[in-house]
Structure formats: C-alpha cells, structure tokens
C-alpha cells in the first residue's frame, strides 16, 4: 500500500508537469488541446537524439550523475529538448491553431488538435520506429528505503520528483513574484481587460505555449527515464494529464500540480484492488466523478 502511494507521488509529479502546460493553454485559448500529450513524446525523443549526439561528441558527458542512470549528456539534452519542444509548440500554434482561432471556430480547434496529435505520433513512429527504447541500458537498481513495510525507490524516481518540484517552484515564483507572471494571470482571467491595460495578447499566447511545451518536454524525458521511450507516450499519458488538469480546475496552475499528484496516487492505489490492466481506466473515472461533483475542479472558477 505504502509502495503504491510512493509510486503514485513519483509518477504524479510527471502528470503534474504535463497538466500545468495543458491547463494554461486550455484556459487561455479555450480549447481541449489533445496535442499537448504528444509534446511529451516529442520532448522525450528530442532528448534521446541530443543525448546520443552529446555522448558521441564528448564521451565524457556519458558520465552518470551520482547514483542516477541519468548522464550529464541527458541532462543537457533535456534542456535542449525543453527549448526545442517549446519552440515546436509555438510553431504548431502558428501553423494550425492560430489560423483556426482567428476564424473563431473553437470546435475546429479541438478536432485539429486530434489531427495534429495523430500526425506527431505517426511521424515519431516513422522516424524512430514503433519499438521501445531507453536513455540508458544500464539497470537502475531500486534502493530499499524500508523492509517492513517493504519500500523501494529508484534514485532516478527521487531525482525526477525533486526536479519536477523545482520546476513547479520556479513557475510559482514567476507567476507570483514577477510582472510577467502577473500579466500571464491577468490574461488568463480577463484577456480583454488585460489588452486595454497594454498587455500584448499575442506575446502572452506565445509565452504560454513556450512554458507548456518546455514543461511537457521535461515530463516526457522524466517518463522516458523512469519507464520506456515509445511513440505512444502521448497516448498513454493523455488521460492522466487531462484528468489532472480537470481535477485541479482548468486554468489553475496550482490545481493542475495538485491534480497530477492526486491522479498518480489514485491510479497507483487502484492497483491494490484492481488488476493492473484496469489501471489506465482510473483517470477516466476520476474525470467523470470530478465533472459530476465539481465541474470546475478543485481550484477552478466558472467562466462565462
């Protein structure tokens, strides 16, 4: 039971990173963006490419960081991946969503996001193959934290949780302590008023895609590091990430973070009573329950 809870928190941090970007985009641009989960795949594969590139250019970068299976090359690759995935999110918006948005057709945005998600997934499969791969083929041994009850955690998982929490803290500080953060929150609350207050909406939309893309890339790399890298990462994480955003309340960054941990916990605790094959259905149930009992989520507000 405690092992499931710990696993839930660890995977929850990945869901939270994915959900934060999703909730920001969904709240500001008012559409359910199914492409967002595929950005996790994009981020994971870009990091894979740059990990190999950095390792071949400078073999010293293949050095592992302490007890982690993560190398210096992968750390750098993750930073590059966050930047490139963020840029990809902006390019996708420019090429697809902005054009549809300008026509004011929000339903088409949702359909387009499905289409873009499928294209991204298949392009990744075409380039990298449909099989699974790993950042490191070395076996990452779990560390026994406690024998009774038995509690094991891999150092990578702890690192992922730590870095995810640091990223969330940085985002919190940006939102709560900087003028840029105030502007982001202002646009999310009332875009029209923000505009007459001199805030350039176009720039804020770009900033939201950049933040969402960067966090999605980090989530994708973390998922790849603690599981496997496959072209269907986006498909597998779509529901947990959406459930986290909905549980937290669309538009609430803090809610999405909290939602990520809750969904992670619920999905893992469900394994205590359900066969593992049913685990992916838990986010569906969470979405249903939240939408029935609290349609605006835990921290969300009703929007006109």
């Amino acid at each position: 039971m405690i092992q499931h809870m710990v696993d839930g928190v660890l995977v929850g941090s990945i869901y939270a990173l994915g959900a934060i970007g999703l909730t920001m985009v969904m709240h500001m641009l008012r559409f359910a963006n199914f492409t967002h989960a595929e950005l996790l795949s994009v981020g994971a594969y870009i990091a894979l490419v740059f990990d190999k590139l950095f390792t071949s250019l400078a073999p010293i970068l293949a050095t592992k960081i302490g007890p982690l299976s993560m190398t210096l090359a992968l750390s750098l690759a993750m930073i590059v991946s966050m930047a490139l995935t963020a840029a990809s999110a902006v390019v996708i918006d420019r090429l697809v969503f902005r054009r549809i948005r300008q026509r004011g057709d929000m339903l088409s945005m949702v359909f387009a996001s499905f289409g873009v998600a499928l294209i991204l997934r298949n392009v990744i499969g075409l380039i990298f193959g449909l099989g699974t791969t790993l950042y490191s083929k070395d076996i990452a041994f779990a560390v026994i934290i406690s024998l009774d009850p038995l509690l094991m955690v891999r150092p990578d998982q702890i690192a992922v949780l730590g870095v995810a929490l640091v990223l969330m803290l940085v985002l919190h500080l940006v939102l709560s302590r900087t003028i840029f953060g105030y502007a982001l929150r202002a646009v999310a609350e009332n875009a029209s008023l923000a505009q007459v207050n001199g805030i350039n909406l176009g720039r804020i939309v770009v900033a939201v895609w950049l933040i969402g893309g960067a966090l999605a890339a980090a989530a994708g790399v973390f998922y790849g590091l603690t599981n496997q890298i496959t072209p269907v990462i986006g498909r597998d994480l779509l529901m947990p990430v959406f459930a986290a955003a909905i549980v937290g309340g669309i538009g609430s960054v803090y809610g999405a973070a909290m939602g990520g941990f809750l969904v992670g916990l619920a999905a893992n605790l469900a394994l205590v009573i359900l066969p593992s094959g049913y685990s992916p259905s838990v986010p569906f149930l969470i979405i249903l329950v939240v939408l029935i009992l609290r349609p605006n989520g835990m921290f969300g507000e009703a929007r006109p």
Partner: protein, 240 residues
C-alpha cells in the same frame, strides 16, 4: 483633444450600431455621452478604445489618427480605458494590479504607487488582499487607480456609476471631476443622466446609434426636450 468624426462601428460586419456619430472632447474637461439603452454609448467608447471595429469615420487624438487602434497600444497614446464591469483583475492582489499597470513607469513606479495609495487610502490598507475581495466602490477606485498609473492625458470611463451605491457613485464621479483640474481629460458614458449632466462640462445625447443633441451640460439640464425625453418630464434645477 479627441475628435470622433462620422464614426460607423459595430460588433458584426455590415451591422453597424453607431451610424455617423461625431463627438469632440475638450482638453481638461468632462464630456459625457448619455442616451437610452441601446443608443450605442458603450459601443462608442469601446470603438474609441479599439475594442469594436470602426468601419468608417475617424478618431483623432492630439492630432494623431487612432482609428482602430490596437487596445494594447492605447496607453502609449496617453489614453486609459476603465470598462463598466470586470474592470480589475480579481485574482491578483491590489498591489499586483497596480504593479502590472505601473510596469512601464520605470524608476518612477514607487513614487506613482505611493501617490495612488495616498489618493485612495482604502486601497493602501488592503494592498495585499485579492482585488476580488473589494466592495463595488473600492473596485471602481482600483480601476481608476490602474488607469491613473499610466499617467494618461485622456481617460475613457464606461458607466462608472454602474452597480454602485449613491455615496460611492458620488465619490467616483467627484474624483473624475477633480482629475480635470490636474489637466486630465475625461470622456464618460453614463446611464445616470442626472449625475452625468451635473458632473460634465459638455454632453452628447445619442439614440439609435446617432447624435441627437449636444451642448453645455448646464444648458441641457434646463432643456425642456431633454427633460421630456430623458428625465421623465422633470426638468432639473441647475446645481440641485
């Protein structure tokens, strides 16, 4: 100061709400736009602010053509707009609202913030509170403070008395009046005809998206036609 010439504007193409409306706003004066519901008063002020597309006509501010200005570029032209509803960021604190408005003030930000807190003491006392916790009148003061933060030469106010108690209405409108003594020009839309005529120097009456009557507010206060149409037949006493 500001001149709107033959403005035709509306939310939907080919369905104008304003038809050939013209308004002149004198510097450091209060100009009011009044009229019945659906007259196009708010549409006019939104069109000036760039929020409603103008299909024909022109808006000139201090000699510059600002027709269909991008709303986020108004502040750079010395214009601030205070909407009727939802005119503050409720999820931000009062201080964050002001800091956002002051972001281009540079080294003078602290000085301007202190001046605004001195002008609106209730806001200073609650500066760490969420703006959504303020009363109606205090919200209007915060909206006005946000507008003043950019040190505008022209403030566009859309029904500043909407939803306010009489005392709060009086305070907000008095504040607007007082700003003109510091050289600020006010163009306001007001549903409350009596208040608007008492407060303003010049007044335009719109109906069905067109200019009807305009003149000095003091003259309109005693005008029989105005009284008949807009004040239910009761003529107002000047200074009442």
């Amino acid at each position: 100061m500001l001149s709107a010439r033959n403005v035709q504007a509306g939310y939907v193409p080919d369905l104008p709400i304003l038809r050939e409306v013209s308004v002149d706003v004198a510097k450091a004066r209060v100009t009011a736009i009044i009229g019945p519901n659906g007259a196009g008063k708010s549409t006019l002020i939104k069109a000036i602010a760039g929020l409603v597309p103008i299909s024909s006509g022109q808006i000139i501010h201090e000699g510059r053509d600002i027709t269909n200005i991008r709303p986020d570029r108004m502040a750079a032209q010395g214009i601030a707009y205070v909407p009727q509803n939802d005119n503050i960021f409720r999820s931000l604190t009062i201080r964050e609202n002001l800091d956002l408005a002051l972001r281009r003030a540079g080294p003078r930000a602290d000085e301007i913030r202190e001046a605004l807190f001195a002008r609106f003491p209730p806001l200073a006392a609650k500066q760490r509170d969420k703006a959504g916790s303020l009363s109606g009148g205090q919200r209007q003061f915060l909206a006005l403070a946000n507008a003043l933060a950019v040190e505008p030469r022209l403030i566009l106010m859309d029904e500043p008395s909407a939803g306010l108690a009489p005392k709060a209405t009086e305070e907000v409108l008095e504040m607007a009046r007082e700003l003109t003594t510091q050289g600020v020009t006010i163009l306001l839309v007001e549903q409350n005809v009596t208040q608007a005529l008492r407060l303003s120097d010049h007044c335009y009456i719109l109906a069905e998206g067109r200019n009807q009557i305009d003149g000095k507010a003091a003259d309109l206060l005693g005008d029989k036609v105005v009284a008949e149409i807009y004040l239910g037949g009761k003529r107002l006493r000047v200074g009442a």
